[in-house]
């Protein structure tokens, strides 16, 4: 078994070492600053662009799109997934279509969404939501089926009514798997919204990235990418913490 301290040491050491080599390379003039700016330049640019009102407006617009996509699509997907499993023939009739929707790369359909919904907020929300919907619905279906029948039978033996079975047995059993699905769904929604924004849009951080790209402002580009990366990693780890908190009674398979 590797001690946690050694793991953290190697992780931090690798990241710091990578940044150090990069910074040294840039400082010694080995790396062309127009192609690959140094980490210090990127950090300074990051602090500058955060205070730029255009960038703040872009971040707010993208954040709003992601928020609406997640809040509207993910609960819907979970409810539909649970409803499909609860009905008798639901799963056999609906599951193939959901699996097809999951397997098909939805980014190919971007022009169709532009034709149908324009290039405003609604289109971004729909594209982002669709990216996450099928995965979360499949996950909810799997989570519903994974509740052991023995637990439900035991609860019914003790005279629990439907509502009590749902809140005391189903929901706690499903919650860890659902949270994992929600984590994937949020990541996919973010990806979908950003892809839609980078393709065609008038506002949002994806639009800014495109602008910086076409005008070859590489420091701003890398600062923007770092910002987005930090944001998604923090979001991902927050949901993972929730997963651990509610899934403590489950055997963890990844051994983190």
């Amino acid at each position: 078994m590797v001690k946690p301290f050694t793991k953290r040491l190697i992780q931090c050491g690798t990241m710091c070492g990578f940044l150090f080599i990069w910074q040294c390379g840039a400082a010694l003039g080995l790396i062309n600053p127009d192609i690959l700016p140094s980490p210090w330049t990127i950090l300074q640019t990051l602090l500058v662009i955060i205070q730029d009102p255009d960038v703040q407006a872009g971040m707010a617009a993208t954040g709003l799109e992601i928020l609406i996509a997640v809040v509207v699509t993910l609960p819907l997907a979970i409810l539909l997934g649970m409803a499909v499993v609860a009905s008798r023939h639901g799963e056999r009739s609906v599951a193939p279509y959901i699996q097809l929707g999951n397997a098909v790369p939805k980014s190919i359909f971007l022009p169709v969404f532009i034709f149908l919904f324009g290039i405003g907020l609604v289109q971004k929300v729909i594209v982002g939501g669709l990216h996450g919907f099928f995965t979360v619905m499949l996950n909810a279906m799997g989570a519903s089926k994974s509740v052991p029948d023995a637990l439900v039978t035991t609860a019914r033996f003790y005279g629990a009514n439907k509502f009590q079975i749902f809140t005391r047995v189903y929901f706690p059993c499903m919650l860890p798997v659902l949270l994992q699905g929600i984590r994937l769904g949020v990541v996919l929604c973010v990806t979908g919204v950003l892809v839609a924004e980078m393709y065609v849009s008038r506002m949002g951080i994806g639009n800014l990235l495109n602008l910086w790209g076409t005008t070859s402002k590489v420091p701003q580009l890398m600062a923007g990418i770092t910002l987005i990366g930090l944001f998604t990693v923090v979001l991902n780890e927050l949901i993972r913490c929730l997963e651990h908190r509610f899934g403590a009674w489950r055997q963890s398979m990844s051994g983190r």
Binding site: P105, S107, M198, G206, G213, V233
Partner: protein
């Protein structure tokens, strides 16, 4: 409008060539990195959480950077596809190496097998289901990356034609391009699933 078959066929060929390069490089680099890191337990345990966290980052936003580094033509699409697809390959390879029963490795050491022999003859066949699953997911993401990259900015390829005709609001040609791109994605998915099934049979039998 009816005589555009040649244009679409040429673009189709370009895109397929880019996809072949992308999937090849993704698989090769992903397998090498995954096997190297996966066979050393310390590296494996340390880097899996890092790579798990990196999986959440939307690598799609790297596209303008990749274009300013590699240019507008095919190399940037190949690089973009590799970036998008390499992480699942590495993660699944490392996870597969982790799931090997340590008794097999003990057997290898007791028979004084070299490191390379242990890796090739014992570790990889045992980890094969995970590895092949990772290859499939990675190839799928790479292929989508190539098409999406072409749709963003490009000079040739199916995605380029889709975007070109979209700006002309020529819905018919847009749908033809989308249909071709969808065919490639679905056929490659079918092929990869078939490959995965065959490898599962080999690994279990």
């Amino acid at each position: 409008a009816q005589a555009d078959g040649g244009q679409f066929l040429a673009a189709f060929w370009v895109t397929v060539m880019e996809m072949v390069w992308t999937v090849g490089i993704t698989w090769l680099c992903g397998l090498v990195i995954g096997l190297m890191m996966g066979s050393i337990p310390i590296l494996r345990e340390s880097f899996t959480p890092l790579l798990d966290a990196a999986f959440a980052i939307p690598w799609v936003v790297l596209y303008p950077l990749v274009v300013s580094w590699f240019g507008l033509d095919s190399p940037s699409k190949v690089a973009y596809g590799v970036i998008l697809g390499i992480l699942p390959v590495i993660l699944n390879t490392m996870s597969g190496m982790k799931s090997i029963d340590s008794r097999y490795l003990l057997l290898a050491r007791s028979l004084s097998a070299s490191r390379l022999d242990t890796l090739v003859k014992i570790a990889v066949p045992l980890a094969l289901p995970s590895i092949v699953s990772g290859l499939r997911i990675g190839a799928g993401l790479s292929i989508i990356g190539v098409i999406v990259g072409e749709m963003f900015t490009s000079t040739r390829g199916i995605g380029y034609l889709i975007s070109y005709y979209r700006t002309l609001l020529d819905t018919g040609h847009v749908f033809l391009g989308m249909f071709l791109a969808l065919m490639v994605a679905c056929l490659s998915n079918l092929g990869l699933s078939y490959m995965e099934k065959k490898f599962k049979r080999y690994a279990n039998g």
